[in-house]
Symmetry: C2
Subunit: 194 residues, 2 copies
């Protein structure tokens, strides 16, 4: 019983790798079970369907993302560094997750509503983080913004803009360049001139 839950996690870990590489559609139960060295039908002892596995995997990835981001922030102290770290890790992680976008937008595929729930929850959390970041930076006299809330929203908007190429599966390109551009833009617009 406890064991069962344990094995479910092993399945999630394995499936996570395959899903992230091939996306929902192109990942087969056969593949997942083969990677686990189990029979295909055995998987159905732990999960009811492919979609249920996918849901668990997405949830898992979301938690992974959260911890990676929070540790990235804790690694440094100054608000600009925190922001820089956060954006950098966020970009890297989202690039890795880009194959999941397929599932979200694959027409003629049941619209996984749970993804949107997770997403909107993440949006809220991210906004809180950014708001705090800006607020603290402001208090320390490093930033100089009128309204932390709206500034945070603006930053988040830019970050979302960086995801668009992932949606459009136009991967490729000068990812670091764009990162620097965005960072300097944000900082120059945000740092107190002296």
């Amino acid at each position: 019983m406890v064991d069962k839950e344990e094995y479910r996690e092993r399945i999630i870990l394995t499936a996570s790798k395959i899903f992230s590489h091939y996306g929902f559609r192109k990942t087969t139960m056969e593949e997942i079970s083969r990677a686990l060295k189990k029979g295909k039908s055995s998987i159905y002892y732990y999960f009811q369907s492919k979609e249920e596995i996918f849901e668990a995997v997405v949830l898992y990835e979301a938690n992974q993302l959260r911890t990676r981001l929070t540790t990235a922030i804790k690694e440094v102290d100054s608000p600009p560094d925190k922001l820089r770290n956060y954006i950098y890790v966020r970009m890297k992680e989202f690039a890795k997750l880009s194959n999941y976008y397929n599932a979200v937008f694959d027409k003629n595929l049941d619209h996984f509503e749970f993804i949107e729930r997770i997403r909107s929850r993440y949006d809220r959390e991210e906004l809180a983080i950014l708001r705090l970041l800006v607020y603290v930076g402001n208090n320390r006299g490093i930033f100089a913004v009128e309204d932390s809330e709206y500034t945070a929203m603006a930053i988040q908007t830019m970050l979302k803009g960086m995801e668009v190429p992932l949606f459009w599966r136009k991967r490729e390109m000068d990812i670091n360049h764009r990162l620097e551009a965005i960072l300097t833009l944000i900082f120059n617009g945000i740092l107190k001139k002296q």
Copy 2:
């Protein structure tokens, strides 16, 4: 007539992207044609089969690899730098090609003999390059090896060893670390002590 050959190339370019992402099996004709904004059956006007496209794509990639490697060598002058550049680019490129390994080893899939032909040809060319590199370095008094031929073979063996994780699809990991380790090993074992 000339046009036809031109469009074949466009197909190769497009298919190349999809194949390199998903491998032979998981790439469908439907996908390729959709990416080209053509009907699925239209592709068969230019190629006889999916495998024929794949063959053309592999050939194309092989040529790409060759030119990337030779330019990487020409970019610098000193033999150690050339060697470093060569190994670095080789590793990056092979990592990108890793999805093609699937096709090579997919049992119950006709063994694409042409891949092995291309591979063995590349092996010969690589050996020649390495041999020359070692030889020149030796002449300039930077390297100090007895037999360029056998040293080149040894180096090539190590490079092939670096491919093993790709075969085993155990991707991941400290790729740069291993690169540095291999480089220092090769250099320290090869450079004339002074």
